[in-house]
């Protein structure tokens, strides 16, 4: 009688232990699955965050580019034909190193670079009244740091070497505007 009770108790204990083990196994499995899903979720959140950050940076850049074009379209730079994104380089020569304009536009520096046709030596030749138009960079004000640039037409009146007649010559250039970091 006593022996039977003992064996019954023992078998219940063994079953209890087995059940505990099963519960443990199940909980480990659940924890592992939850960790897996959390990791997968983090991975996708990370990807989405990067995409969003990239889009925000691009939007900032687009905004800066529109500011640069607005500056190029001011009467101080604009071509006589009044086309948007067209700079009169004859005006640029006069506008160079004018410190009075510092702070007039919402940029820390402003310069214009000729892109095409480029000079053979690919050297930076700062434009002055003496070497114009055989130069490739006009520095309006400030030092080039953290710049945003966009393409513009650089037009001027030129004398044809063969006929001696004047015509409007447009080349390809870039306006480089400096922005304070984080602004």
């Amino acid at each position: 009688m006593l022996y039977a009770k003992y064996t019954k108790m023992r078998s219940i204990k063994i079953k209890d232990k087995k059940a505990q083990l099963k519960i443990q196994e199940m909980s480990f499995m659940l924890v592992a699955v939850v960790i897996l899903f959390v990791l997968a979720g983090l991975f996708f959140v990370n990807i989405k965050y990067r995409e969003l950050h990239k889009a925000a940076v691009e939007a900032e850049k687009e905004k800066a580019i529109s500011t640069v074009i607005k500056i190029a379209d001011t009467p101080e730079f604009m071509c006589s034909s009044s086309k948007s994104g067209c700079i009169d380089t004859d005006k640029l020569i006069v506008m160079q190193e004018r410190q009075a304009y510092k702070g007039f536009w919402p940029v820390t520096s402003l310069s214009v670079r000729k892109i095409y046709p480029s000079n053979d030596s690919e050297l930076e030749i700062k434009c002055t009244k003496n070497n114009y138009p055989n130069c490739n960079i006009f520095k309006i004000y400030g030092e080039e740091k953290e710049t945003i640039s966009t393409f513009v037409s650089l037009c001027r009146n030129e004398k044809d070497t063969e006929t001696g007649l004047m015509y409007e010559k447009c080349e390809l250039g870039k306006v480089l505007a400096g922005f304070e970091p984080g602004k």
Partner: protein, 202 residues
């Protein structure tokens, strides 16, 4: 003698029971292994599906105002081709129009207008954008075409039909990475001449 046979009987019985238990345990183990493998396979399949779905997404194509400005400024570039007389040198935009109007039109220096456009653009675009297979911008493709939008009445339901006529196509490099581009419209009655450019960058 009777005792010995009884002992033997119990021994065989206990051994049989043991074997049965082992059989049950191994079957249970097999079931668990199969379940585990099933879970692993399901997780791997879901993972692969998501990975393939993510990788098969088309590269993002955006309209860039910088490229738009580039196209606009390039179209105003004064070429070395004068159609009527020197020094009335034409812009790329004017040359494209002349090229579309008459393929055999010539500049005063007897170059074909279409050739002049091709020569100028195939030098201007890669040099200005700094296209380099190892660089930031690794490829570009430019497509200039005439587009005519005509309305075609199909059983009273007017449908817009777009007809494209190629004028010029330029490309360089193999596209890897993201794409960006822009379009520039040149009014040319009754339709438009469209200059579109696509740039691939890393």
């Amino acid at each position: 003698m009777k005792n010995a046979s009884l002992e033997r009987f119990w021994l065989v019985l206990s051994q049989e029971n043991k074997m049965k238990r082992i059989g049950k345990i191994s079957k249970k183990g097999q079931h668990e292994i199969v379940g585990f493998i099933l879970i692993v396979v399901i997780v791997v399949v879901i993972g692969l599906f998501l990975l393939v779905f993510y990788l098969r997404q088309e590269p993002v194509e955006r309209q860039s105002s910088d490229i738009q400005n580039f196209l606009q400024s390039s179209m105003r570039y004064t070429t070395s081709c004068a159609i009527n007389y020197a020094p009335e040198y034409s812009s790329i935009e004017d040359l494209i129009k002349s090229c579309y109007k008459n393929e055999n039109q010539e500049c005063v220096d007897e170059r074909k207008v279409c050739e002049a456009v091709n020569e100028t653009l195939s030098e201007l675009v890669p040099e200005s954008l700094q296209v380099d297979p190892e660089g930031k911008i690794n490829a570009y493709s430019m497509f200039i075409y005439y587009e005519d939008i005509s309305e075609a009445d199909e059983e009273n339901g007017s449908k817009e039909e777009i007809q494209k006529q190629e004028i010029l196509r330029l490309s360089e490099g193999n596209c890897t990475g993201s794409k960006t581009g822009a379009e520039h419209l040149i009014a040319y009655h009754p339709g438009n001449i469209v200059a579109s450019i696509e740039i691939c960058y890393i």
